[in-house]
C-alpha cells in the first residue's frame, strides 16, 4: 500500500501584512505619543495656623495679579516682560541699593563662603485670576531664577547650569534658591 506521501500545504502568507496592519491600527488608536511637560515646583509643607514669618520689606519682591490679569510689582503696574529683569536686579542688587534685597555672606558646604541674596518673591493672586496668566508669570519668575543660576554656574565653573554634574547642580541650587512663596489668594483690586 504505497501511498504517495501527501505534500504538506504551505500556509499562505498573503494575509500576514493585513494582520500586522490591523495590529498597527490597534496601537495607533489605543496609545498616546505626547510627552508630558510642565513647570516643576515644590509646594511648601502644610502647617496649621502658621504665622507669617516677618521678612524685611526690602527683601520681598511682591508680584500681584488681580482678577483682570493685571500685574503689579511692589504695588506698581508692570508688564509681564519686565518681571524677569526686575527680578534679576532685585536678587543681584549690583549697586547695593537699600531698597533691593539684602545680601549676606554665607558658608555653604562644598562652595565655601559666597554672597547669597536674602530676597524672596511673593506671588499673590486673586481667586478670579486666570490660570493661564498665573502660569505666564510663574514662567517668567522661573526663567529669571534659571538665568541667575546660569550666571552663577558660568562664574564658578565656566559652564552653563545644564552642563554641570548633578552634584554641582545641587550646589548651584543652594547658591541660587528658587525663592518663590505663594500666598493664599485674597481679594485684590
Amino acid at each position: 500500500m504505497a501511498r504517495k506521501k501527501r505534500a504538506f500545504p504551505e500556509i499562505p502568507n498573503a494575509s500576514q501584512a493585513d494582520i500586522a496592519f490591523l495590529l498597527i491600527i490597534f496601537f495607533i488608536v489605543s496609545t498616546t505619543m505626547d510627552t508630558d511637560t510642565g513647570i516643576y515646583r515644590v509646594l511648601p509643607q502644610w502647617v496649621e495656623n502658621v504665622e507669617a514669618p516677618k521678612i524685611n520689606k526690602r527683601n520681598t519682591f511682591v508680584v500681584l495679579i488681580n482678577k483682570n490679569n493685571d500685574l503689579a510689582i511692589n504695588g506698581q503696574f508692570a508688564q509681564i516682560s519686565d518681571i524677569k529683569d526686575r527680578l534679576k536686579e532685585f536678587i543681584l542688587n549690583p549697586n547695593n541699593d537699600p531698597n533691593l534685597s539684602e545680601k549676606k555672606e554665607e558658608n555653604i558646604e562644598g562652595l565655601g563662603l559666597i554672597t547669597r541674596s536674602q530676597g524672596i518673591v511673593s506671588l499673590q493672586n486673586d481667586r478670579g485670576t486666570d490660570y493661564g496668566a498665573y502660569i505666564e508669570v510663574q514662567n517668567e519668575l522661573v526663567k529669571g531664577f534659571n538665568e541667575l543660576r546660569d550666571e552663577f554656574s558660568m562664574d564658578r565653573y565656566g559652564r552653563k547650569y545644564e552642563k554641570l554634574t548633578p552634584e554641582e547642580q545641587e550646589l548651584a541650587k543652594k547658591a541660587v534658591p528658587t525663592a518663590i512663596s505663594e500666598a493664599e489668594p485674597q481679594e485684590v483690586k
Binding site: 489605543s30 496609545t31 508630558d36 513647570i39 511648601p44 478670579g128 505666564e136 493664599e184
Partner: protein, 159 residues
C-alpha cells in the same frame, strides 16, 4: 526589435513582489509599540494647557498622578454643566476627593518610589485660580508636594 528578444514575445511588467510587505508592516508596528504608551484614561474636561518656556519633561510616567481641571466636554457637558470641574482618574470629582485619591495613588507605588511621586496638574488656561489654590491646599495637606504645572512648549522666535 530587441536582439535579446528574438522571438518578439510581448514584454510584461513583472508584478511587484509583496513578500516584504509583512516585514514593512511589522517594522511600523514595532515603531509604534516602542514610541507610544497606552492611553490611561479619557479626559472629559477641556484641556487647553498654557504655554511656557521654562519647562521640564516628566521622566517616569509610572511616578506621575494626574489631576485634570477644566470645564466638562462632550457628553459630560449635559451631565455636569460648563462650570470648571476636577477629574480624577475617570470620574468628575470634588476638591474633597483629592486627598483620598492621593493616598490611593501613594499606596499603589512601591515603597522606594513613593518619595519621588509627582502630581501633574493639567488645568485649562481659562481656569480661575480659586479652584487651583484649593487643589494646591489639598495637595499640601496630603503631602504631595512635588507638582508639575502642565504646560506646552512655547516656540520663541529669535529675531
Amino acid at each position: 526589435m530587441s536582439r535579446f528578444n528574438p522571438e518578439g514575445a510581448k514584454k510584461t511588467v513583472p508584478n511587484i513582489t509583496t513578500a516584504s510587505l509583512p516585514d514593512i508592516m511589522f517594522m511600523l508596528l514595532f515603531f509604534f509599540m516602542v514610541s507610544t504608551q497606552l492611553r490611561e484614561n479619557t479626559v472629559n474636561v477641556t484641556q487647553n494647557v498654557p504655554y511656557a518656556t521654562e519647562i521640564t519633561k516628566l521622566e517616569k510616567k509610572s511616578l506621575v498622578s494626574y489631576i485634570y481641571v477644566g470645564s466638562p466636554r462632550g457628553t459630560f457637558k449635559a451631565l455636569y454643566g460648563t462650570d470648571t470641574r476636577i477629574q480624577l482618574d475617570d470620574k468628575i470629582s470634588k476638591v474633597n476627593d483629592i486627598r483620598p485619591y492621593i493616598v490611593g495613588e501613594w499606596e499603589k507605588r512601591a515603597e522606594e518610589d513613593r518619595p519621588k511621586m509627582t502630581v501633574s496638574l493639567k488645568a485649562d488656561e481659562k481656569t480661575k485660580m480659586g479652584i487651583i489654590n484649593e487643589i494646591k491646599t489639598e495637595l499640601r495637606k496630603a503631602e504631595a508636594l512635588k507638582i508639575n504645572y502642565s504646560a506646552k512648549k512655547k516656540v520663541v522666535d529669535k529675531k
